[in-house]
Each structure stands twice: as structure tokens, then as C-alpha cells.
Symmetry: C2
Subunit: 530 residues, 2 copies
């Protein structure tokens, strides 16, 4: 296994290119004078997974996926290059509809796609290994709105974007900076990706995601990464993981294929993801959904290997069920949970990393509905063996809004998942027989408790996860403090975090080069909102 | 396996004793004219469990428990009879402290305690089988306060008690009526159990729990059950499951032993439960807690088998961690989750049913904290293989308050757990290949979705769990309806349920006999608040 925590040549304050010398010493001094931010490494799970399908069940789904690929086929739209590659590889091409000999896409993936990969961060301490027993949390992706207790719901701006990047940076159990943490609709559609990528590189030092809304924007992402990491480093290592959604049922469109090609060709990772609302984009049943999802993933992930064998690719599935009242997607319900558990098994058999779930909910506000649904998505996400967890914090309203309070509430849950993943400590200290003997030797009465015994005193500081949101004070103290609910406490917390935020160090030369690239690109074509 | 759903001789409208004829026909007519309440049978899990301990880990814990029993011993206070029984069985008795030869308590349990048992309900359709792959949900137990949006927090009354019994009766996925759904503090302590048991028998037809606060009150519970079920039936069948808490660390007190003896002697079930706040009643570590819990359960459960071999007994554990700020118990945190997962494994190896978890939380109000914590307890409770789930709905504020809104919110989650337990449907209809072929044959475009295909139409009504609480309407409709949060919707729901409640039928002769017994008992000794 590759070691994500090994140092790599591009430390943030000693970076690549001709501009490296200028300002490096200042940045190092600044880093030394700043209090250390406690960050948690990505999760290396020590707890078992929930596997709901038997061997027979898995074979049924895999067989059905092969049948879909062979009989029904998959549409590859507006990309003659990909169609030609598939034709050469042995697919049956009828216009844009491609049909695949049984087992061909699977064998292409298994031949060259890595089981896990390191995504390098600007700060090598934040490198993550995606795959295996690991789980990496990344923030909400995609909402055009934000919601806060102060402002309610409104369109998101680049300022909000920066805020969510900063909150993710400040969250110990958030291992990744994510991508479109909200959609900065105050910037032109065809240029906002430049500000978004810059925000990830400047306001965080965690790994990030690239633009996929146009192949040129994917190319811009790669160019900016080359400035930050060095061109040679980017060709040999993965520094971007990007989200490629299928247009389910059974379609890959030209935009997504275009972005996929840019990233794969540059050895950058893609998360190939059927975005499923069961009953609309897939059958209403879990087994039907799983077969279609597997067929879609097989065709999309194999495409990356046709472009560049060995390019990292992730098996993604975004599963939701449907409200019978409104037709809207619903979350935290049992049907998508079963899809996630089973899809994790399919991904492990295929042999590539897995992405699903997050802290998803349909609720408009950070209330009990939001929390039930998010927890009922997040814990199954962990127990499904998910390697890359998008939407791990901040998701509201079916993905229409990024919530400030919701973000820090979810972040608290991520910390708990990190502890849960460590499993039971069976060391001698964990067994605590000395404590039991000490307390047991006492006579029955007031002192026969563990509060003051030596083992408790030695372990108390680290024994229990400390929630950042929960109020566990006495009823009387809670009354005296104004009977606040979790959302009100969360409102205070995110404001405090942003107020105390300090940017991670960056080589001023790199920063200047990034800004220079962005300025030149923005000047080279007119603004547009498509 | 015993079949809980087989008919038994005491149907509610054709019951035992000399009073059976009077009014039976009216009750049957009433039952026929009433719309059928859709109830769900207890859960027969088809999903795998989470087992966090390896064989080696389990042996460590079991060995440590045996060491605790052998070296440290367990206190049996204020019960000479139980101490004498243990002395005869081979325990080393030093005053009230008993030490046990390695393996003795385990072998006593494994020789005669049933792996699972049927608890009969007044309505045989509501019988539950506790043990095996089954999960039975029961409501919150014990709070002296209630909370509602209308009244805030106040002391509970017998009217509240009846209300929670009615809400549990009306909740399809609540399989059990529970016990002290709240503490009716408006009634004298030494008589309120009579009204509580009567409420369960009169306002519900689901199985219930008995009084444990004094041996005489346990005896009253058995007498009332004999009136409802027939004396002979009660001696041969289990109709009461009662909660026996250890006084951790490592003490059984006289009150609990007295109640345990009454129930075991009458072949009624006990849930032998160390009530653990880690760091105070047990070591701060999970492995230390588990060893102590196992030792306590072994000593308590084996005691039931000394009283009456074959009496049903359940391995219980109530696990919480501690707030470092306030010393209060905390819930929905990773440490008790690990204890629950591991304790389920220990119970299955021991070979008796298992109880843990519920929908626990520390929050004072039904907010996001309450929901995160409850969901992060409930799903692990299911995945731990819990057979009897107390506190499955209504728990607030660390068990100090029964919440009206919280009850119906949690009840919604129970319905989801019931669906999740069914696992993926792998039938031909579940595989849905006809749907995929039908939709896949269409050309790309607007109609290429599953909404109108035949398979969807045939399955849509039952495909997805329908939440009773979640709002999945459009943002605009939600705005138009007043931007309500989950608690506000829950407030409407429980009031509607209580307004529409109709009592299940009961033989008027039985009802009269129950009331007559209660009246005579209440008149036979003065009120007291101890």
C-alpha cells in the first residue's frame, strides 16, 4: 500500500518552480508562530462492515449487470473519441449505444485500475489514501443556496464558498476540502471554477476536487494543480479527485466524458457515480437499482482505463428513494441504506475504491428531521466500507442548500465516526482489570465508584469523545443559558470558527502564479452564464 | 422455536375465568365495526449484525468476567434466601459478598435458561418472541417528567401514562407496551403500579412489563396478569417481562432481588441489566465495562435459574458515556455503541436473549441533538442483534423526560428499522430486469425514466417507506405551510393519534375483575410515597 503520510517533495512552504524562493522563509516563520491546528488523519477502519448480500446475491446482481451491458447497452453521447476507443476494445457500437461482451468492462478495470490510491494534498500531512480499509470525509457538494439561522435561505456566493472551505479546513475529522462546497452564483458560470479551485488551494491545505462542468474547466483545474504541485509531480501522482455523474438511466453525456478524459489522461482520479433517484433514474427496487448502478459504473470506470490504464477511479453511487407525496428524493430511509451496503460489496469485489452516502437529508432546516436522516445515512456510509464520503457535512434540503449550522453539526458526527472506527481497545489498559480490582475491594457505599480510581484519572481526558454541539449540562444550567437548541449552539460555533480562522501557509510565489494564471484565463474570453 | 403468532387460549374477547361470558359478544361486535389498526409483527431480522470483537477478544472479556466473579465477587444485599441458594450451588459466601467458581454462573444459565421465549399478549396477534433473530421494540421507561411543545417540561401524571400507552398501541412498529412509560407522580408511590399495570392491560393489547419497585408490587403485577390471562396460563407461559437493574458496580440490592424472585418463581421473564455510566459505575474503557457487565449479568441471570430453572431471562446492558464537562451521561456517542455491539456478541455466546440501546439522547428538547443521538443509538441497537429494545421511542434528557413529540419522531424511525431488517428483495420482481429492459429499449430523451413503466406502477405503493414526520415537499410548499420543523409536525401528529384513539376490546368481566382487585388492594393499606 502506498503511504499517504510519507513526505512528498512539494511541502507547502518549499514548493516547485522558479518562484519558490520568494517568501518561503516568511511563510515558514508564520507557520512556526501559529498554534497547531489538531487535525485527524483519514480513518483506517478497525470495525467490521455490514454486508447484506450473500455470495449468491452478489452473483445475481453481477450477472444482471452483465446482461444489461450486453443486451440493453449504455449510451455514450457526444464523444466520438470514447466511442472509437470502445469499438477498438471490442464493444458493439450502434450509433451512440454501446453493448459490451460479458465481462469486458470488468476485466479492463481489474487489469489496470488501482485498488487504492494516494491523493496528495498541498500539505503532505493531509494526504489521504482512498481505498482499502480507509474512509475519507469530504464536505457537501453542489448546492446553489446556503442556509443559516441569521439569513435563512439565499443564493450562495464566492464568500460562502470560501467560508465552507475554511470550515472544512478547521474541522479535525474532515479529511478533504471537497469541490463545489456551494455554487458561487455571483460569479459567471464559465469562470467561477477558477475562483473555486483557487479557494481550495489558498484557504485550505487539504486535498480537493476539480471542475467537471466543461472539459476546459477540468483542464484549468489540472493547470492550477501543476502550479501548486509542480507539473512533473502531477503527472506522476494524483492530486485531484473529481466527480463524474452518470446521466442515469444508462447514459454518459459528452460533458462528463470530456471531464473524465482530461482527468484520466493526467493520472487524476474520477469518482464515477450513477446519481440515482429510485423509481425515476432506476427501478423502484434495491436489487434492480444495484444491477443498473453496477452496469453504469463498469462502463464508466472502464472508460478511464481505456484513456489511461492505471488512472485512479472510484465506484460511486448516490442513492435516494422517492417521496410518494411529492416525487422528491428522500434520504436516511432504509432503501438507500440497503443499496449502499450492497454497492460497497460490489465495489470491493470489483477491486476499486467505493464512494456513497454522506450526511444526507431532505429537511430544509437543521432540525430533528435533518439529524435523523443524516445520522441514518452517515453511520451506514461508514459501515458500508465507504472509502470516499462526499457530502459528509453541510448538506440540507436534498442538496439544494449548504447549511452553516448543519455543517458544524455534521462535523461533530464525523468526529464520532472516527472514534467508532477504532473499535474496542483490548490492551491491558483497555481491559482495566486494575480498576475493577481497586473498586471491587472497597466496601459497599458512597465511595464504591470509579470516578476517583487511578485508572479513571489516567484515562479520563481521552476516554470519551467530546461533542462540540451537544448540551449535556444540568437542566437548570441549560435553562439559565437560555434553553438553546442544537442549531442555536451550532450558529455560535461556526461564527467562532470563522472568526478565529487563519489561512494555512502558502509560498507567495505559488500564490502569485495561481492568481496570474487565473487573471490571464479570465481575460482571455468573455463572461458567460452557460 | 416457539411460535409467538400461534393462537393461544386467551383471546381478548373470549377470556378465562367465570366472568368470560358477560359482554364477550359486545366486544366482538365492537371489534368488527372498528377500522383495522395496521400493526407490524415483531422484527425477524434478515440483515447481518455488526460483531466488533474477534474470538480472541471475546475470550479475553469472558476470562476477565470469570476472574471478577472468582476474585472480586458480587454483593447480594438484603436477601438471605438468594445467598443461601448460592451457597448450596457452590458459591463462596463471605457476608453479602459472593465469589463464584469459574464457569459456575455460566453453566447454570446454559443448562436451563431458554435461548428465546414467547411473551404472550392479551391479543395473541401481538405475542412477541424475544430472542434469536428477532427484535421487539418497547417504549421509553422511567422518566418522572414529560415534555411537549405545548407545556414544556412538567411532572408526569397517570393521564400522561395512559397517553403514552395509547401512543405505543397506535404505533405500528412498536411491538410492546413497555412498563413505566412515565412515572405517574400524581399517584402514591406504593399504589401507582396498580394503575400502571391496569393501563397497559386496558388501553393496549400488546405485551407489557411489570412493577419492580417492591416484591409486593411485583406480586400484584402477577395477580393482575392472572386475572387477564388465567392463573393456569400464567404459570405455564410468560406474559410479563420486567426490568431488573444491577446496582453497579457489582451489587444486586434487596429490592431488585425481591422482584426478580417473584417473577422467576412465576415463570415470568426478567431483563437483568447493569445500568452503566462508564467512568462512575464501570471503568472508563469499553473492554473494562464489558467484563464487569458480563460478570454482573452472569451472577444475576444465574440467580433466576436457581429460583426456577427455565424461567426466561434476558442479558441486558444500558451503556452510556460521561460528559467531561458536567459528569452527566451522554448518548449516541461512539463508546456506548461499541459496548452494545460487543455485549450482543457476549449474549449470543451465553445463549440468552439480549437487550440494549433504544432511541437514547441527552438533549432536553426534540431538536437535532436529540435526533442525532437517538439515531446513533437506534441503528447500532438493531445491528447489535438486540432482541428486546427498551426506550425505543419517547426518551429525552437522559431519561428524565418522556417527550410527546419525541415519541412519534422515534416511532417513525422504528418503522424504518423494520423495513431495513427485511434486507434486499432478490426475487424476480426485486431484480426488476423487465423494468430495465423496458426503459433501456427507449431512445434517449424525456421519456427515458422509470416513473411510468409497468414495474414501477405495480410496486410504487409499497416500494418506499413513508415517513410520518419528514417533510419532503417542495421548498415553496413548505414555505406556504409555515416553515414547520419536525417537532412542530410531530406535535400535530401525536394529538391527532390521541384524538382518534379507540381502546382495544376487552372482556367486560375481566375488566371488572381487574378493577375490583385494584380497589381491594388500594383499600387494604394506607397511601405512602416510599
Amino acid at each position: 500500500m502506498a503511504d499517504a503520510n510519507a513526505s512528498h517533495p512539494i511541502a507547502p512552504e518549499a514548493s516547485a518552480g522558479s518562484r519558490r524562493t520568494r517568501g518561503g522563509a516568511e511563510a515558514r516563520r508564520a507557520a512556526r508562530s501559529r498554534p497547531k491546528l489538531e487535525q485527524l488523519p483519514f480513518i483506517a477502519r478497525k470495525i467490521p462492515l455490514v454486508e447484506v448480500l450473500s455470495e449468491e446475491g452478489l452473483q445475481i446482481i453481477e450477472n444482471n449487470a452483465d446482461t444489461i451491458l450486453e443486451e440493453v447497452g449504455i449510451e455514450f453521447r457526444d464523444d466520438a473519441e470514447v466511442v472509437a476507443l470502445w469499438k477498438d476494445a471490442g464493444a458493439d457500437v450502434q450509433g451512440t449505444r454501446l453493448r459490451f461482451p460479458r465481462g469486458l468492462p470488468r476485466s479492463l478495470i481489474q487489469k489496470t485500475a488501482p485498488r487504492e490510491y494516494v491523493q496528495h494534498a498541498r500539505n503532505p500531512l493531509r494526504n489521504v489514501t482512498i481505498g482499502g480499509n480507509n474512509t475519507v470525509f469530504a464536505p457537501v457538494y453542489g448546492p446553489p443556496f446556503i442556509r443559516s439561522l441569521d439569513e435563512g435561505r439565499r443564493y450562495a456566493t464566492i464568500e460562502d464558498f470560501r467560508n465552507f472551505v475554511k470550515l472544512a479546513y478547521l474541522t479535525p475529522a474532515m479529511h478533504h476540502s471537497g469541490g463545489t462546497v456551494c455554487e458561487p452564483v455571483d460569479l459567471p458560470v464559465n469562470k467561477r471554477h477558477l475562483d473555486m479551485v483557487y479557494s481550495h488551494l489558498r484557504y485550505s491545505d487539504k486535498p480537493f476536487m476539480g471542475s467537471v462542468t466543461h472539459p476546459d474547466r477540468a483542464a484549468d483545474t489540472v493547470e492550477l494543480a501543476k502550479i501548486a504541485f509542480g507539473a512533473e509531480f502531477v503527472q506522476q501522482n494524483t492530486v485531484i479527485t473529481s466527480l463524474i455523474n452518470a446521466n442515469s438511466p444508462m447514459v454518459w453525456d459528452g460533458t462528463m466524458l470530456g471531464a473524465l478524459k482530461v482527468y484520466a489522461r493526467n493520472n487524476q482520479a474520477t469518482v464515477v457515480t450513477p446519481f440515482i433517484l429510485s423509481g425515476a433514474m432506476s427501478p423502484v427496487t434495491a436489487a434492480g437499482t444495484l444491477a443498473q448502478v453496477l452496469a453504469e459504473v463498469l462502463s464508466g470506470a472502464a472508460t478511464t482505463q481505456l484513456i489511461r490504464p492505471g488512472a485512479p477511479v472510484v465506484f460511486g453511487v448516490f442513492a435516494s428513494s422517492m417521496s410518494m407525496q411529492s416525487g422528491a428524493p428522500t434520504f436516511g430511509t432504509p432503501e438507500p441504506t440497503l443499496v449502499s451496503f450492497a454497492a460497497g460489496q460490489l465495489a470491493r469485489r470489483l477491486g476499486i475504491p467505493f464512494r456513497t452516502g454522506g450526511s444526507l437529508c431532505g429537511s430544509k432546516v437543521p432540525d430533528a428531521q435533518a439529524a435523523y436522516e443524516s445520522a441514518q445515512t452517515l453511520l451506514p456510509t461508514l459501515l458500508a466500507g465507504t472509502n470516499f464520503v462526499l457530502h459528509a457535512a453541510g448538506w440540507l434540503e436534498g442538496g439544494l442548500a449548504s447549511g452553516y449550522e448543519k455543517f458544524v453539526m455534521d462535523a461533530d458526527q464525523l468526529g464520532m465516526m472516527q472514534v467508532l472506527s477504532n473499535n474496542v481497545d483490548l490492551t491491558e489498559n483497555g481491559q482495566a482489570m486494575d480498576a475493577i480490582r481497586e473498586v471491587g475491594a472497597r466496601e459497599f457505599g458512597a465511595a464504591r465508584h470509579y470516578l476517583e480510581c487511578g485508572h479513571t484519572q489516567r484515562n479520563f481526558e481521552t476516554a470519551f469523545y467530546r461533542s462540540t454541539i451537544a448540551d449535556n449540562n444540568s437542566f437548570e444550567q441549560w435553562l439559565a443559558e437560555g434553553e438553546q437548541d442544537a442549531a442555536q449552539r451550532a450558529n455560535k460555533l461556526w461564527k467562532k470558527m470563522l472568526a478565529e480562522y487563519e489561512a494555512p501557509p502558502i509560498d507567495p510565489g505559488i500564490d502569485e502564479a495561481l492568481l496570474d494564471y487565473i487573471e490571464r484565463r479570465k481575460a482571455s474570453f468573455p463572461d458567460s452564464d452557460v
